[in-house]
Amino acid sequence: MIVDLKHIGEMCSVVRTPDKGWRIGAAVSVRQLGANGDLARDYPGLIEAAQLIGSLQVQSRATLGGNLCNGAPSADAVPLMMSIEARVEIAGTRGRRMVNIESLPVAPGKVALTPDELLVAVLLPPRPARSAARYLRFTPRREMDIAIAGSGVAVRLGAAGEIAHARITLASVAPVPLRATKAEARLIGERPTAALLAEAARIAAGEAKPISDTRASADYRRELVAVLTRRALDACVAEAGVGGSKP
């Protein structure tokens, strides 16, 4: 017996929450996400990241929830969701619980869901003023390939233009998507100069724990982390700086 969950209203809808965040049903396809203009204005980086998943055919079926629960360290939508501090709502036989996305992946292909549980929604916080979030990845082929390294960055600027808040989550360089907390700490309270962003990106590269395999060497992945993180930080600071975006 197979039960199709894609006809349950809350699984398939994208709604604004009362706090001006978003509740995205776990069965909403990447294709449907891309069609939501308001969501794309708040979190363009999330849509962009999700649209890196598979082909357009796959995106008609792929979901943020699936990308997360698949448990791949290379999941393209996950680093950015972690960096913007998204949460997920989980329903089970013992009721519902909310968890930070960060606590969900536990190992390659494994997430912290029990067999009687189901992910029902991804919850995005309201986008803060003067903030931005972007994910960049590198693939040997341009299309239909898996990231050999990726970096999802979220930045909020303070009143004086300093970095008030920063989160960096790395893809494909650890068994699970990895927060680069030392790099984040280096940024807080500082003015976002090119030198500072490059230094933080270098620190992030040092925090990465990549492996060498047929797709890339550990050294190459670490170098990519530095480049991708610096570019993502640059992009976020620029975007957050131009009024970036009042919700």
Partner: protein, 160 residues
């Protein structure tokens, strides 16, 4: 336990008995006899089995037959209007965008879906739209040329 699936394929109501493990691809090919949809890799990488569900391209091998309940599906058999080929089909012939032909049904449906949403695509948009359709014969250039020509043809037709 087999169940009955009712859906609309190429504008016609269809009904079939399916196993819960059957894919939409098996439903189309084995139950409904629509063998224009090809089975390549069977795991969503090659795009040979691309069909449209509610206008969206999907790999029929990644959709369970049971999920087709109530769905509107377009296969390669539903693209031409009788004997009049769709502009994408005509352009693929004219520009030599097909050789062995195995990937062609999927390419046609990816292109039809693209042009429905983006009537004047750039070359980059065309390449992105068929990135999930693997062709081992043509090298893609002629396919891209053909889709661009079909877009121009359809635009000209729409202006008349």
């Amino acid at each position: 336990m087999k169940t009955v699936v009712q859906c609309e394929v190429n504008g016609e109501p269809r009904e079939a008995l399916v196993d819960p493990r059957d894919t939409l691809l098996q439903l189309l090919r084995d139950r409904l006899g629509l063998t224009g949809t090809k089975e390549g890799c069977s795991n969503g990488n090659c795009g040979s089995c691309t069909v449209l569900m509610a206008g969206a391209p999907v790999c029929a091998c990644l959709v369970l037959a049971g999920e087709a309940e109530g769905a509107h599906i377009t296969t390669i058999e539903g693209v031409a209007d009788g004997n009049d080929l769709h502009p994408v089909q005509a352009a693929l012939i004219q520009h030599g965008g097909t050789q062995c032909g195995f990937c062609t049904p999927g390419i046609v449906l990816s292109a039809v879906a693209l042009l429905a949403e983006t009537p004047q695509p750039t070359s980059g948009q065309i390449r992105h739209a068929i990135a999930g359709n693997i062709c081992r014969c043509t090298g893609y250039d002629k396919i891209v040329t053909a889709i661009a020509a079909a877009a121009a043809e359809m635009q000209a037709g729409a202006r008349q």
